[in-house]
């Protein structure tokens, strides 16, 4: 008998990106390889803790031999692949994707996109004043979340986090088709009437503020959301014994929201209702001490 070891296999793959050889572990994506090469790539629907859906197409790159551009977030890095990340075609597609999104969706809180829109020269206004927009009202149906689908870019992240990739609650799904497709509960019932268990994992992955913690929404509405002044402290949840890592976002000595690091082996960025919202006793509205 021998000791069964923790399985570890690491074969390496070498490909060319923008003319330079890059070596990454087998199973890496082209996006991983770009990161390894120090090349910054815009992403929107990609998250390290979710299965790539390659829907947004903002991370496309040119692959030698491919008729179309390829999504770097999901394409596996293969030996001898030749990738170009800054060609005219790549710049055009990235610009257009950002421009298309900006032409119909409120991207005001999609902070990660603003720099890229400038970089690629996106002009969302050139589709005219009649260009149809998402036009959805904010849904406030409980004390923990708000849903503002006017900001939704349909990146599928919330659906994945609620479903197969983490929580397996399936309270929300994509409904409808085409430009009319929306994230929705069954028959658009309210969240409290739906299967939602308020784990907040949809909020945790939303890149545009379309699903938001009520705490953040209220502060934004009061024009008092100051992320640049917030501290983020990593600690461990106070409830069950799983040991979920929490990031406490603190503004003015008050916890204003809780996230979890996506790269942590325990949570992969996902929490439950207690970890996400169970901190209120630390700063109750009533005095805690005797």
């Amino acid at each position: 008998m021998t000791i069964a070891e923790v399985p570890q296999t690491e074969t390496m793959v070498t490909l060319t990106i923008d003319g330079a050889a890059v070596t990454v572990p087998e199973g890496s994506t082209v996006l991983d390889a770009c990161s390894a090469a120090g090349i910054d790539t815009p992403t929107l629907c990609y998250a390290e803790n979710l299965t790539p859906v390659n829907a947004c197409r903002v991370c496309v790159v040119e692959q030698e031999g491919s008729r179309t551009l390829v999504p770097s977030c999901s394409r596996q890095a293969e030996p001898d692949m030749e990738i170009k990340t800054d060609t005219e075609r790549v710049r055009h597609s990235r610009k257009m994707v950002l421009e298309f999104l900006g032409s119909g969706v409120d991207l005001s809180q999609a902070d990660q996109l603003h720099g890229w829109m400038d970089h690629y020269g996106a002009e969302p206004d050139r589709y005219g004043s009649d260009a149809i927009r998402i036009n959805e009202d904010v849904k406030i149906q409980d004390s923990l979340y708000i849903r503002d689908y006017d900001k939704c870019v349909l990146c599928y992240k919330c659906v994945e986090a609620c479903g197969d990739d983490a929580q397996m609650t399936f309270a929300i799904a994509v409904s409808g088709r085409g430009f009319d497709a929306r994230i929705s509960t069954e028959f658009d019932v309210t969240l409290p009437d739906s299967a939602c268990v308020y784990c907040g994992n949809c909020v945790g992955v939303c890149p545009t503020g379309a699903i938001q913690f009520k705490t953040e929404y209220d502060l934004r509405e009061a024009d008092d959301w100051r992320p640049e002044e917030q501290s983020v402290t990593q600690t461990v949840c106070s409830y069950c014994g799983v040991g979920c890592n929490l990031e406490l976002h603190v503004q003015d000595e008050k916890i204003v929201k809780v996230t979890s690091p996506a790269d942590h082996s325990v949570t992969h960025g996902h929490l439950c209702i207690k970890g996400r919202f169970g901190w209120t006793y630390v700063q109750p509205t009533i005095e805690r001490r005797p």
Binding site: V53, N54, A55, C56, R57, V58, V60, T68, L69, P71, S74, R75, R89, H92, S93, M96, V97, F100, L101, S103, G104, R126, Y127, G128, D130, A131, I132, V153, L154, G163, M168, T169, F170, A171, I172, A173, V174, S175, G176, R177, G178, F179, D180, A181, S184, T185, E186, F187, V189, D193, S194, A195
Partner: protein, 584 residues
Amino acid sequence: MTDLHLTSDRANAAEAAAIDAAIAQCGVDPVLTHEGDRLIRGGLHRANERRHALLPALHALHNTSGWISHGGVNHIAEKLGVPPAEGYGVASFYEMFRMDDPGHTDDVVHVCVDGACQIAGADGVIVSLEAEGTKVHRSPCLGQCERAPAMFVQGNQGRDDRVDADSQMADAAKVIPQQGEPQLQLLRRMGVTDPTSLDDYVAYGGYSALTRAFEMGADAILDEMETAGLKGRGGAAFPTAFKWRGVKAAEGDTKWIVVNADESEPGTFKDRHLMELDPFSIVEAATIAGFVTGAQKGYVYIRGEYPLATERLQNAIDTARTRGFLGSSIAGSSLGFELEIRRGAGAYICGEETALFESLEGFRGEPRQKPPFPTTHGLFKQPTAINNPETLVNVLGIVLNGGEAFAQIGTKDSTGPRLFCLSGHVVNPGLYEVPFGVTLGDLIDMAGGPVGDLRTVLLGGAAGSFVGTDALTMPLTFEDTRAAGASLGSGVVKLFNTDTNFTAVVQRIAEFFRNESCGQCVPCRVGVVRQHELLIRTAGRSLNGERALLDDMDLVMKDSSICGLGHTASTAVRSAIDLGLIGA
């Protein structure tokens, strides 16, 4: 089932019974099995294994109540373990499913408003039907362009969906003038055999190809197919032998044959005729595909608006099974092969092969990023050969007569016969079989020539392009059309004369893509909307600077959309502008 949460809505008895029956028909038992008070079999795996019964269950629900009721979705959730939000999300993907209570129990008449039907006065038909109090739904192409304006009746309260079958049989001779000609490959049994009779089929050479296939063995068949140079007839023109070899070589115990009969490209109706008038040939060819690739089971995915084709093919499958041509030991051999029909529910995108897999598996018909390809990751992520009916039926001739004989037909790079669907301003709209290489002009002449002064031909459907009268001398081959910047697509040849309102026609094509985009990827989801808006904005005037914008949109859709819908969504529009049909 997982720990699903259901609202309090419950299905009525009729809904529950219809759903249960549909699920049973898929060969599936409910996800939960009570083996006593304290023992329940269920769980995630059983739910996953049953998901493919979702679309049939939704059809049954809609057919019972005329809409996707909340209680019905909950009942399906309980029986299949599909979360209600996902059941709702899937149902809302399809044109044929109404998501709100219609408040009536009438059948609904779908009237086609695309291309041929548009110029044949569909709008007027709708107005008069509505005036009579008929419930009307404006539908994209119904695949009956040869008898425009086309209609399809969607049943309610358990009544069957239907088309006017009687008139369809009566005018078969008219819309398929060549039917029964013995020298043809694809139309020779039509009008000669009774499509419901296996004996008739056998008497006219049916199942001789399967017998021959057993004698030859899989490798020899693949060699003959390669010699034949058979390419797919659905639009992508991929070499069929290459595809089947890939599936045969792919690792995996379970492999699939899928017949892609979701014929939704506007202007296409060839596969419908094959299924309606020669259904056994598709069953036989699919069986051979199973034999060659090692697949033991197949699905035929037929578009929901084809009730007669579904009925005929279902009859053919049932009869073949009864007579030992499907099942565990086919025609006395050791080969086992089963075939099952699944109906689409109104989604052009489900003709895209990976979207079709998603739909069949019980998910929204959203295409997958390729690679991986269906040969290794197809239906249920397992190796799958997916072919169009016309492609499959061609295999019968190759098996019987050899690849060389097949390659003799047509040109060097475009071998074999080809079905073309002629519609629009043509004297005899209908289905025609010609060898590749016939010129566009000759084909139109076969159909009696144009009605009025021909202005343009839409070649290949909405995903194809408009060509001018200078193209009449162009041989209809893959290579010649490609050289001309056009494509044969699924064999659509739609004629428009000089009296046509091209602004309306082209706008309708743009609207078609806007309605049919699945919405998954940004370039297509937004691009098709902005394109349609641009055409409306510039209607009746020169595009001026907006042409550059159109080209920008076209390029991102071509370069970065996930699937062929986005890649081709601008092709027809841009060709119309180039030809001066609009924007001049």
